[in-house]
């Protein structure tokens, strides 16, 4: 067992402690199969269920584990996306990269909700470039406007864009703009001071350059199963 696996194993009790609130009392159900939410406010239901979970935590610790205490390991490697199928996944999505060394394409996919995403990794962090269908533009914009701590106008890839900082974590920044009825979102997970320069350096590249940036083991997201397999 390596160090990361050991640390993950040690993390389990910490998560359990955080999620387990001691129950005040075992919930009393009014009658069998009653629609419980119609009789109890959701908060009470949540407290009751969390309470149940707290009571059984110790027993469940044992119940969760495999009978032989081992972790099964299968030998199949992840599915790699050969360049021949990488481009069809994008379905015409612009081929863009930061104009800086060290950026590679780590993952790409087309999802059931209709959006396409390319995940890049570089020396500054991660960058996800996504394209959303037109019917989600208003929803997405409204959400960003309500959640962002800062919002300002800017320019990305020669397009007028709106640039947001969203306080989920210390490193989330977004830039969105519309192209041909789609919403293009550039989501950065990197030091905030680096997002602007990386955003400014984004540029459209030719297929050869883009394919050269594919990591050898670049993967399709599992939800991208509608695309041809490699």
């Amino acid at each position: 067992m390596n160090d990361l696996e050991t640390r993950l194993r040690d993390l389990g009790p910490t998560l359990d402690e955080a999620m387990g609130e001691a129950p005040a009392a075992w919930p009393q159900y009014p009658e069998p199969l009653a629609p419980i939410r119609s009789r109890r406010p959701r908060a009470m239901l949540a407290a009751a269920a969390v309470g149940l979970l707290g009571v059984v935590a110790a027993g469940a610790l044992l119940a969760d584990r495999s009978d032989d205490g081992t972790i099964a390991v299968t030998s199949e490697p992840p599915t790699s996306a050969a360049p021949a199928v990488a481009l069809p996944v994008l379905d015409g999505f612009a081929l863009v990269l930061p104009d800086a060394p060290g950026w590679t394409i780590e993952m790409l996919g087309r999802y059931e909700d209709g959006h396409t995403e390319v995940l890049l990794r570089g020396p500054d962090g991660f960058l996800a470039v996504s394209r959303f269908p037109g019917d989600r533009i208003d929803e997405k914009r409204a959400w960003l406007e309500s959640e962002a701590t800062t919002a300002e106008d800017g320019e990305v890839l020669g397009q007028a864009a709106r640039i947001y900082t969203v306080p989920w974590g210390p490193e989330d920044d977004y830039a969105v703009f519309e192209v041909e009825g789609h919403l293009i979102e550039v989501h950065g997970r990197m030091d905030a001071t680096r997002f602007g320069p990386v955003l400014s350096s984004l540029h459209v590249v030719d297929e050869e350059t883009w394919l050269a940036a594919l990591e050898p083991d670049v993967l399709m997201h599992p939800e991208g199963s509608e695309v041809p397999s490699a």
């Binding site: 640390r7 040690d10 910490t14 999620m19 939410r37 149940l52 119940a63 584990r65 909700d113």
Partner: protein
């Protein structure tokens, strides 16, 4: 983890045995479900979603008790019900979420932050397998995906974790 068999046997009084069967189900599977949702949504939303899913289990206990894979069913229920707890359909609450964001032991903070950067299926698979000792088959049953897909999630998740933590050092 899979398998129901919690329905009361025929001929026994309904209310007491149904309640007892449900409570037995919660004792056996409740914590597992909670862990899965916390891995998926973080502590705050994950707890709410777990409670919501167990509420559905109670409402539909006659069906759930007979299911071969009740956890898989309730996980899917929880995912669909989670929308009410999320601010944006595609962006779940930040993992790990409060209270771990501020109260976690300092030696876990970097790992929690790195886990928060994983894609959700990767994080669920990595945490359930490596933090809680689930088998790949158990995770596959929960997520209703082939074991090979779980293998992919684990492989990718662990590789990304190592990469993120190396970058952050």
């Amino acid at each position: 983890l899979a398998g129901g068999g919690f329905a009361p046997s025929a001929g026994e009084p309904g209310q007491v045995d149904t309640t007892a069967a449900f409570e037995a189900f919660v004792r056996t599977h409740g914590r597992s479900l909670q862990r899965a949702f916390v891995a998926r949504f973080g502590v705050e939303v994950g707890n709410d979603v777990a409670a919501e899913a167990l509420g559905v289990a109670w409402e539909r206990w006659d069906e759930v008790a007979e299911m071969a894979n009740p956890l898989g069913f309730l996980y899917r229920v929880g995912q669909s019900r989670s929308r009410r707890f999320l601010r944006w359909g595609r962006e779940p609450s930040v993992f790990p979420g409060p209270p771990l964001t501020v109260e976690a032991p300092t030696d876990h903070l970097d790992l929690l932050a790195a886990l928060g950067r994983l894609r959700e299926p990767e994080r669920v698979a990595v945490l359930l397998v490596h933090a809680y000792g689930w088998s790949y088959a158990d995770v596959a049953s929960l997520l209703d995906v082939p074991v090979t897909a779980v293998n992919n999630h684990i492989h990718r998740g662990m590789a990304r974790l190592r990469s993120i933590m190396e970058v952050d050092r």
